[in-house]
């Protein structure tokens, strides 16, 4: 690791981090920025690596960040003032998307056609399958590099800049590093998040071209009969590449269709590419899932703090409120509420994603709150809380400073468990034709589309989405288990009544 | 108290302790735990016995193998643990290590009963105290129904629980710590055992309650002529209750002696260290000494003195030769496993005495 020759050189022990590099005593009370100025070596090396990583994806990062808010909707809220700004930002986002990045489609292009003399249009004349696989490999390598760089940055901080040699959190981290089941979960979850983040470039084609606007886009292909390169609307091409179980009507996983398009997961019954659909669906699921968790988690944590601090009547009130919400079966409640809200403006944000997120959030908090209530109560009985009270600390500060940090870990466990549940729930609703509006991809809709063909050669349509859900939910559960064992190796929480956090309302 | 019991007995020479007077005899007991990486010799070839009506102490720091010894006697060792087939535990003339599980069930409780360290967790929280005592009564005394309830109440009274008729229907969580331990003792008595193993019965309790429980145990012993194996890490408690003491360290018995000579003239450096760490034997003003370091995990057969790393007297051979129990001084009952003994020999001779025979030693 390059420049850190002066401090702790050569003594990097990966297993045991209590072994600290010597820090000059004078650094003790300085703020972090000062500590970095004193010893800029490691931080500079790290920053340089990060800069390279950012540069490699600069365009995508800018456009990615800026395209998250629904600009059309935001602009519509306050016409006049906000609208032009929103429009400008939206343009910046589009421009950013055009900047070349190492993962962009144009760098490794997998669209092309096969002429008698070989592949045309693809990068270096590779076959589309190879080109696509290469791009996927680049994306995942890039992402996992980030993960490693992040970990490396943390270890640098721990060795060179952090004031205490050791904090209890180090033990948690070390325990997690040795928890192979948890690491397995982390890997799956990370791979899923990458799939969601890079959805637009992961698919062999794009949602816009292949799924949402197939009659506005054309593709070139080589016509064997005429010996010419011809072009065709994607929509028409899709019509010829349907997977409907019988005869020639099937494009299975890892197959090419007659227009030389490669389909890693095969095609949907309407001829669209299943992989592109799934990658984009992952993005929707994750976004809705995280938003709903943010909402549910916010409620749960605030209530946990309040009930643990004040107990008594406050606790009773939240118990009743939580039980009342839970008395209405979650999935049924969401079906009802999304029907009631279906004609309002809020239902249009993110094609119904926001409503779903809110509904999963307000129906999900009681379970989360129950899960963190115990630990919150426990910490509220500790001496240091009484001490804080006794010298007149304000309740809000006591809760934030002395109680919250202790409970956050437990929250993470259940957040991980329940995210899997929410993903199942969203898929279940879209299976019924509710929730996320078509044609925006959502996994449940693929299961539904493939339902008639499960026992035919087009089995992939329903099966692949289901298997992916199983893998991802298992991943989230494993991650939750790992975090739990890391935070609290003795405990048996997570067993018992809280299991149902992860159940997605029974979907 | 029990000390008199021994005085009434036959003189203390080896021949007189025929097996009829022995309540329990442990010979060369080895209990091994097989883990993924290594074998832990939790109990590594110990021998001792308990005479009728006598209290024998087993003392040592935590991790020395005391509790495994108790569980081995009761046949409660489960996979991955295993008792070496060459070991013998003789109870009523039988080598019970050869017993099947169902044969073992017939002597557990009846023959040998046990009182555990933490009274709260040794009582099943979902059954009343009475229910659990009556379970023992029905198993061992064939008492059922009202007869059993009455007997249970009597037993609770016997162990000094007030208002026993009401308490018999209460659940463990409704008892205080000391009362719970009394209830556990009542449960053990309900089995009418001959040998009672007490595994740190007072450690989880307050000091004042400790004293009461010890008095209770001593009274019961006097009344019922029980033989007790008393396990503790507390030298002070041992001094009060035991007739003879075995000091255990890392799976081995390093010193055994009747209680007076042991406290008056401890021989093994470890025993001396333990005694120095009792507050009451300190002259005032002195800092309380503790033995530095921890009990090592005995993960291979002994090839040296396991105490050597912590021993103030250790010398070179200590890390080469495993000492064997050797009589020290005149008292035939006083043994220590240390290369410094027998005292009558020079160090070289003594080392040669301890060296295994095939190494050219005399034994």
């Amino acid at each position: 690791m390059g420049a850190d020759t002066d401090v702790g050189s050569g003594s990097t022990r990966t297993g045991e981090f209590r072994e600290e590099a010597s820090r000059p005593e004078g650094d003790r009370d300085l703020p972090l920025s000062e500590r970095i100025t004193r010893n800029p070596g490691p931080a500079a090396t790290w920053a340089a690596v990060v800069a390279v990583l950012i540069a490699a994806e600069f365009g995508a990062i800018v456009s990615g960040l800026l395209s998250v808010p629904p600009w059309g909707w935001v602009g519509g809220l306050v016409p006049g003032v906000v609208e032009p700004v929103a429009a400008l930002l939206a343009t910046v986002a589009e421009r950013g998307a055009e900047l070349p990045t190492i993962t962009s489609r144009s760098v490794i292009d997998n669209t092309g056609y096969q002429t008698p003399s070989g592949w045309e249009g693809t990068t270096l004349g590779l076959s589309p399958a190879v080109a696509w696989a290469l791009r996927v490999a680049v994306i995942y390598t890039y992402s996992f590099t980030w993960l490693l760089v992040g970990w490396w940055g943390y270890t640098l901080y721990r060795r060179h800049y952090r004031i205490p040699d050791w904090t209890p959190r180090d033990d948690v981290v070390n325990r997690f590093r040795r928890h192979s089941w948890g690491l397995f979960g982390l890997t799956i979850v990370f791979a899923f998040v990458v799939m969601a983040l890079f959805a637009p470039v992961l698919g062999p084609t794009t949602v816009d071209q292949n799924i949402e606007n197939p009659y506005e886009n054309r593709i070139d292909y080589y016509n064997d009969e005429t010996g010419q390169v011809e072009s065709i609307f994607v929509g028409e091409a899709n019509g010829d590449t349907q997977s409907r179980g019988q005869g020639d009507n099937n494009v299975g996983p890892l197959e090419y269709d007659q227009y030389d398009r490669f389909h890693p997961f095969g095609t949907l019954p309407d001829g669209k590419d299943l992989f592109t659909f799934m990658a984009s669906g992952a993005r929707v699921s994750l976004l809705v899932g995280l938003t709903s968790l943010g909402i549910a988690g916010g409620f749960a944590m605030v209530f946990a703090m309040l009930t643990a601090y004040y107990k008594g009547l406050v606790d009773l009130g939240v118990v009743i409120a939580g039980d009342s919400i839970q008395a209405m079966p979650q999935l049924l409640f969401i079906i009802l509420a999304s029907f009631v809200l279906s004609d309002t403006w809020i239902a249009e944000v993110y094609n119904g994603g926001l409503v779903l997120a809110i509904l999963f959030g307000i129906t999900g908090w009681p379970a989360l709150w129950r899960a963190v209530r115990g630990p919150a109560l426990q910490v509220s009985e500790r001496e240091w809380i009484d001490a804080a009270k006794s010298y007149g600390q304000r309740p809000r500060v006591t809760m934030q400073k002395h109680m919250l940090p202790y409970v956050v870990g437990y929250f993470l466990i259940y957040a991980s468990l329940s995210l899997g549940g929410v993903i199942i729930g969203i898929a279940g609703l879209s299976f019924l034709g509710l929730g996320i509006e078509a044609p925006v991809p959502e996994w449940g809709r693929a299961v539904s589309a493939g339902q008639p063909y499960v026992a035919t050669q087009s089995w992939h349509i329903s099966l692949i989405p289901g298997i992916l859900v199983v893998i991802i939910v298992t991943g989230f559960n494993a991650l939750g288990d790992g975090v739990r064992d890391a935070i609290d190796p003795e405990s048996d929480i997570g067993d018992g009544g809280n299991e149902n956090v992860a159940a997605g309302g029974g979907a | 108290m029990s000390r008199h019991a021994r005085d009434d007995n036959v003189p203390l020479n080896a021949d007189a302790t025929s097996s009829r007077d022995l309540a329990l005899e442990v010979e060369n007991l080895r209990t091994v735990f097989h883990t993924e990486h290594e074998q832990i010799h939790a109990v590594d070839g110990i021998s001792f016995n308990i005479r009728r009506g006598e209290t024998v102490g087993l003392v040592g720091e935590s991790g020395s193998g005391k509790s495994v010894t108790a569980r081995s006697i009761l046949g409660l060792i489960e996979s991955p643990g295993e008792i070496d087939p060459a070991s013998a535990i003789r109870f009523e003339g039988d080598n019970i290590t050869e017993y099947t599980e169902s044969e073992y069930e017939s002597i557990r409780g009846d023959g040998i009963a046990m009182v555990f360290q933490d009274p709260l967790s040794t009582l099943n929280p979902v059954y009343t105290v009475g229910n659990q005592i009556k379970e023992a009564l029905s198993l061992h005394q064939d008492l059922r129904g009202t007869a059993a309830t009455e007997r249970a109440i009597e037993l609770l009274e016997e162990v000094g629980i007030p208002d026993a008729a009401r308490r018999v229907t209460e659940y463990p969580h409704q008892f205080s710590g000391g009362m719970r331990q009394r209830a556990v003792i009542a449960m053990a008595l309900a089995c009418a055992p001959e040998v009672l193993i007490c595994d740190e019965p007072t450690t989880a309790l307050d000091v004042t309650i400790q004293a009461q429980i010890i008095d209770l145990l001593m009274d019961i012993q006097a009344e019922r002529d029980l033989s007790i194996l008393f396990i503790t890490h507390d030298m002070g408690v041992i001094a009060e209750v035991a007739d003879r003491v075995n000091v255990m360290y890392a799976g081995e018995i390093v010193e055994s002696a009747p209680v007076e000579p042991l406290f008056a003239e401890p021989k093994h450096p470890y025993t001396r260290g333990l005694l120095r760490s009792i507050p009451s034997t300190q002259t005032s003003g002195d800092r309380l000494e503790t033995i530095k370091g921890e009990v090592p995990t005995p993960n291979e057969p002994a090839s040296s003195c396991r105490f050597a790393p912590r021993c103030p007297k250790s010398f070179e051979e200590c890390s080469e030769v495993a000492p064997i129990p050797t009589a020290v001084g005149d008292d035939p009952d006083h043994d220590a496993a240390c290369l410094l003994y027998p005292e009558s020999m020079t160090t070289d001779e003594a080392v040669a005495h301890h060296r295994p025979a095939d190494d050219g030693g005399e034994q």
Partner: protein, 337 residues
């Protein structure tokens, strides 16, 4: 506080919960952005019919009167009638037709996991770290991660074509049954009828119980592992209690305690999950009825059904507390919940 006082307190706590839940339902249906009358009549309705519906539902009255009547009707169990799904039929009659199917499904989807998941979990816990344990544990983890609706789709497809796929016809096996159809619940006391109804519901019950099965297995395993190492189990052995009795008396009941909320929690999920499973298997139960009522805008029916669901979940809650109180004497002690 005694155990039964605690139980009574829990039951009393259910009163505000029913009240609050019903109020939320009212708020959503009457104060929310939909007009119940417009929803009932659909896009084609004429103004006259519209006015008539508004009038008969009392929608023109002040909100607080609407609320009072809504609550009064539901709490006195006057559930009204359906306006769209089966026009004019009383809700009680509808529940009489649709309810038994859901109950039948629910009954088996709770029972099957208990009789399959629990023994497997206990077995795994009694024999930890054996191959059987690993298979059971891993199977449980994967099994409970499967989305119900997806599993249902797979079951339906595989079973309807079992003849072609495996040369074994599920439909003709033992008694002839359809796969995607409501179970015939008439004459359950006759063995063949009973068998037929059971067989018809079996795949759906397995699916709906899948998560429970995984959970019960996992928790059963940990619970047994924990109680197995508990000191009172060692004590029981030390006082000579025979091995079999140790397992049944001293381990089983203690291991059940953490399982109570799991089992009752499953019953909860079942209410929600029934929508999807009933739809895929075309069981026409309460979940399916609720779904149909919602997408067809049958607001009065939706409200009444939601009220019934609230009563059901509260009932399950009370059952859970009852079981707790019976099994665990520590309940209510220390104010423990």
């Amino acid at each position: 506080m005694g155990r039964w006082e605690y139980f009574l307190k829990r039951v009393l706590l259910m009163v505000p919960i029913v009240f609050l839940g019903t109020t939320v339902t009212f708020l959503i249906l009457r104060v929310g952005p939909i007009d119940p009358a417009a929803a009932i009549i659909g896009p084609s309705g004429d103004t006259e019919a519209y006015a008539a519906i508004r009038d008969s539902l009392g929608l023109d009255q002040p909100l607080w009167i609407q609320y009072a009547e809504f609550m009064r009707d539901l709490l006195t169990l006057q559930l009204g009638e359906s306006w769209v799904v089966v026009r004019g039929q009383s809700v009680w009659e509808l529940v009489g037709v649709y309810g038994p199917r859901t109950l039948w499904l629910g009954f088996w989807s709770i029972l099957i996991p208990i009789f399959v998941g629990l023994p497997l979990g206990f077995y795994a816990g009694l024999n930890p770290n054996t191959l059987a344990d690993y298979i059971a544990s891993f199977g449980g983890i994967v099994w409970r991660a499967m989305p119900n609706f997806w599993l249902a789709v797979i079951f339906v497809s595989v079973l309807t074509q079992s003849d072609a796929l495996f040369g074994f016809s599920w439909g003709d096996w033992l008694v002839e049954t359809q796969i995607v159809t409501p179970p015939d619940l008439s004459g359950l006391w006759e063995p063949t009828q009973f068998l037929g109804a059971l067989k018809a519901i079996l795949p759906a019950a397995l699916v709906l119980g899948s998560a429970s099965m995984g959970n019960e297995m996992r928790i059963g395993r940990t619970a047994v592992l924990e109680t197995k190492n508990a000191n009172y189990v060692e004590m029981a052995k030390a006082k000579g209690v025979p091995g079999r009795l140790v397992v049944w008396k001293h381990m089983f009941r203690n291991a059940l305690i953490p399982l109570v909320p799991v089992i009752t929690g499953e019953a909860f999920l079942l209410l929600g999950g029934s929508v999807l499973v009933e739809t895929v298997f075309a069981i026409n139960g309460l979940g399916y009825l609720f779904f149909q009522a919602t997408i067809n805008g049958d607001v009065p029916l939706v409200g009444s059904l939601m009220f019934l669901f609230i009563l059901l979940s509260v009932g399950i809650n009370i059952l859970q507390d009852f079981l707790y109180t019976v099994i665990d004497p520590r309940v209510g002690y220390d104010g423990g919940a």
